[in-house]
Structures are given as C-alpha cells and as structure tokens.
Symmetry: C2
Subunit: 339 residues, 2 copies
Amino acid sequence: MASKKRPTLYDVARKANVSIATVSNVLNNKREASQQTIDRVNEAIRQLGYSRNESARSLKIGVSKLIGFIAPDNNPFFTEVLTGIHEECQNYGWQVVVSTSEESESRQNELLELLAAQQVSGIILAPVTSKLHVPEKLRKVPIVLVDREIENAHLPVVKANNFDGSYLATDTLIRHGHSRIGIILASPGISTTLQRKAGYLEALKRHGIEADEKLIDYGGDYTGTKTQISGGYNAVVKMMNLPNPPTAIFATNHLLMIGALKALKEARLNIPGDISFIGFDDHPWQEITDPPFSIISQPAVEMGRQAVQALQKYKEKNIVTTTVLQLELITRGSYRSIT
Amino acid sequence: MASKKRPTLYDVARKANVSIATVSNVLNNKREASQQTIDRVNEAIRQLGYSRNESARSLKIGVSKLIGFIAPDNNPFFTEVLTGIHEECQNYGWQVVVSTSEESESRQNELLELLAAQQVSGIILAPVTSKLHVPEKLRKVPIVLVDREIENAHLPVVKANNFDGSYLATDTLIRHGHSRIGIILASPGISTTLQRKAGYLEALKRHGIEADEKLIDYGGDYTGTKTQISGGYNAVVKMMNLPNPPTAIFATNHLLMIGALKALKEARLNIPGDISFIGFDDHPWQEITDPPFSIISQPAVEMGRQAVQALQKYKEKNIVTTTVLQLELITRGSYRSIT
DNA sequence: CTGAAAGCGCTTACAG
DNA sequence: CTGAAAGCGCTTACAG
C-alpha cells in the first residue's frame, strides 16, 4: 500500500497510462487534451486521492498560493479586515498566512522576510510606521498597504478617509455646542493618527475654535493591545483632571475607546449627561450598552476584500491603485447638545 | 546585478568559495564546520541578503514551517486562541495559515486538504462536529483538536472543562434562589454544547430541580457569526414569552450572549433587577457595561499556546495528550439573589 | 494531442 | 572537515 506517502504525479500518470506532462496539463487546464484522456486522468486522480504538492509547484514556478497578512495588533478591527481578506481570497484560491507585528518595526521586517522566504505571492500589510523603508530584497514580492499608508511608497493602498471621518465627528460635536473636545489618538507615527488629528484640527479651525494641546492625547503611543486600552484610560484621567476639562471626548480607535470608557465609568461620569462621547469602529456590544455608543464606523470587512483585489491588480497588471473608503458617523445615544 | 531574482545557495557558495553542501550545513547548524568557514559563509549570506527558499526545503524534506489553524467562526474567543497560537509558534519558528470553516463540514474538509497540499507540518482544528471522520489521506499530517473534541478520534486535544464551568454557573444561580434558569446553547452537534448542557442538567439534578425543555434553547444551531447573535436573540424572545419565564439566563458563548442581551434590552428588562444573567468568555467591554457582566471565563490564549505544544509533542514523540483547562466564574454585577 | 527531459533550490547520504 | 551528486514533485518549453 502506498499509504506511507501521498501519491505523486507519477503515480497518477502510471495509473492513467499517460505522461506526467499530460497529467499536469489536465490539472492546470492547460492546452487541449482529448476528453477521453481527461476522463482517464481525473479518474486516476480520484482513485488515488491525489492532490498536488504545492511546495513542488511553488519551487518550480516561483510563487505559492499563499499570501501574507501582517496586522499591527489584535484590535478587533483587524480581525474584521482578515474576514474580508479570507472572503475575497476564496475567489483566487489563495490561503492566508497571518501574523502580528505588535507595532514593532523589527518584528515587522522579520515577518516580511519570513513571508518572502515562503514564496508568498503577495503581502497585505498594515505598517507600523508611516516611513517604512521596504528592504531591497523584498522588492520582488508585491505588497499592498491596508488601513495605514507609507509616504512615497508607490505601493497600492486601501484605506479609509480618516480625515473626513474625524472631521465629521468633531464637527458634529461642535454643532452640538461643544468647544472643548478631547481627542485620544493612537501612536503619532502612523498615517491614520496623523489624518485623524488633521481632521479634528480642521473642524475646530473652521468653527474658529483654537486647539488646546492639552486636549490632544496620544494615549496609544505604546505597542500592543493591552497598552492601548490603558492608553485610552490614562488619557481620560489626565484630561478630566484639567482645570478646564473637555465636555466631549472623541476616541479614535476601538481599543482607546474601551480604555476611555473605563476611566469615565470609574470617575462616575454619566454619558451623555456629564460628558458627550464618540468612539471608533462598530461592534455588536455598542448596541446593547447603555447608552448605546455613537461611533465613526469603518467598512473593515470591505477594506480586507479591496486589499485582496488591489493585490490581484498589482500582480497581474502592475496597476498601483489607491482606494479610499468612506467613514460614517453612526449616531446612537452617547452625545448631546449643550449650551 | 542579481536584482531580478533572489540569491540561491549556489550564489552564496560561489561567493564564500565552498560547496552548497557546506552552506546548507552552516545554515542548519549541522555537522562541524571550521569557524573560518562558518564566518565566510555567514559573511556571504549577509552580503547577498540571502534567505532560504522554503518551498525548495519543503519539497526536499516533506514538511514546511507552516501550520494550519481552522476556526469554525469569527467568535472573538477564537481570535484569542489564535493569539496564543502565534505566541507559542514563535518558539518553534512556525508560521500560521489561518482559515475559517464557517461551521461547514465540507468547507472544513476542503481546508484540511488545502493545508495538507501546502505540506503544513501540523494542523490545529476546532472541528465543526463531534463526529468528524478524518479522510484517510490526511492521516499523514498531525492534527490537534482545540476547544472541541471528536469522539474516538485518538488525536491530541486541548479543551476547557465545559461540564464544570456550566455546572458552576448553574449551581451559583440556584444557590441564589433561582430555579427557572434558561440556558442558551450553540449547535448540538459539537462537544462543547453537549458538555455545557450536561453540566447544567447535573446542577439542576443535584438540587432536585426538574429540567424544563422549554428553558433549553439551541439558539446557535446555525452557521456563522451573525446567525449566532440572532440565535441568542431569538432564544431569549421565546423564553421570555413563556407563561412561566425564567428568572435567570445562562448564555454559553460570547455571540449568543450578545444576542441574548440585545433581546433583554429591547424587552426593557433590567439586569439583574428583573432577570439574572451569566454569560461566557471574558471581554474588555464587560467591565464597562452597566451592570458589568458575570461570565464563565475561558483561558483562550492559553488554549492556543497549549495546542501548539501538544502539536509539537505529537509530532516529535508521537504522544497523544489531552489537556483540560479550568473555567472560572467571574462574578460582577449581573445576577442577584431572589427569594 | 502527447511525451521525454530539463530544471526550480534545496538536503542528505556517501565518499574522501 | 568538505564536496559531488542524487533526488524531492512539480511545470514547461520543445519535439514529434
């Protein structure tokens, strides 16, 4: 019995009385084979339970059916992006090697290297900084940026309109009478932070409100998942102890939001009675909390899908696309008008 | 310039003036090479920016450095398990091909097949049913079961003590005076559901309470993430419309819990004033909700780590381990005593 | 329409 | 301590 090792092309060829080239052609739908041959080959494949050794194929043709996805942390946002990547990859027969850089640039470079060594046919990357220098030797493997972009990278990117989203949230709060609005941002080194900050500042400016540095906190200037939660927590504690604390808070990612709410709760501040709040990233919990939270919602699953499509276009036609998805404000019960 | 393609062993060998066998040996720390040779080789590797083509290696030795992880859905519990898998894999230099079966057995079998074709060195599987028949041709690749087990599989398994956890939750509610306790379970086809149900029934029995079929709902007997949330929702709606509704509800996974809470909220039932509640799986949101929720907490990250270790033992020493992790009840504010 | 043969980049006995 | 050579299982010109 050939139960010890998996059958190879040779086994199939022998059984079907054809050459291995013919089997390979049938397998890949290349060239015309007579229907009779095709049937014989397929029957042999079925009987032997043959499936292709992808390592051999990768070695020969230089790329595997794998793509890599490098997320910076375990923010549920990236879990959703991964869902989108998975969905779309089914259309291309790709499988996904997933890893987390934990916001470390050296870890990220190591992961890129490991993926390249696996002959992945592409990488979807949410980079840890906006100034990544992609090592020369990785230039061969197509990289698509997702969520975050890199200056002058000349790489396809799929991102959200963070400026507009942040502007929208801030503008809305201002129109509800708020002028002291605290914003909690993630690490200043990434593009999303920069753009979310810019949108906030622009909204203030349009309304003639002067920005107060004390109300701008990089609570998430740390690595990893847990530290971002404490970052949001610390930011709120700091702001609420100001002589002139904010009347509204805008937390610009889901982890920061959770930390911020924890601090608000501990301070026994009522939302929206004592303070208005807008968060980031939709999540089932937000409909069952009291109050339900208003948030800037990102099309995270769609972002994953689009990233795969962008990768496909980049690989096949060398087209460098920039896709910008719109953010929307979902208003529930966490902010109110003040006078 | 060799910028077109990545350097190979031959390039390194030529540069270092040795044979490819020697380079390979240095690379794998095999046999003794003179320190001088080692240095020359390493210097050549560095200069060329060489890194091994893992496809070639996999082809030659029959296994890659990849392992597969198949989750049944996007429950955040499995995201945490994945975190643990990632952490532990770093110790072995493994990378993880992640995929979701969406509770479909045919999809699961397809994924197993695809992973085997990639020459993965092992698979960590949360199976969609407790009666999986692993296809003969997959017998070559080591599989470790995580979270859910399979009858007579003779495979390593890392799971939680679901019986005890469920007993504990039910017993606690009974001791607080509840006798009509609704339980919301996931699909009856998986081991965790069976065990959680058994723990519930046993606790009732010990206290001489007769089980009421109407209070046992397989809200999650659907596939996928969203349908489980609506499953939990529907279960609560049904139970609360009973002539004699429950005074407490135990939702046995995170998705079911979210759906259940949504229904409770819509019915304007106060927790724990009108109804007591115990959920499943800890999550940062649970500390900031009002009330904060009591839950049965699973060591999800640890489960992932242990699964990787079990895989390692299975591969290296052919040891089939069964690891049972304890669940604990975290009491916050969502249940109370009644008379 | 089909086959013989080269070669992808490694690892590993084997010989020296 | 080091090298020459076979071979892992495929794909793909090339020849017929």
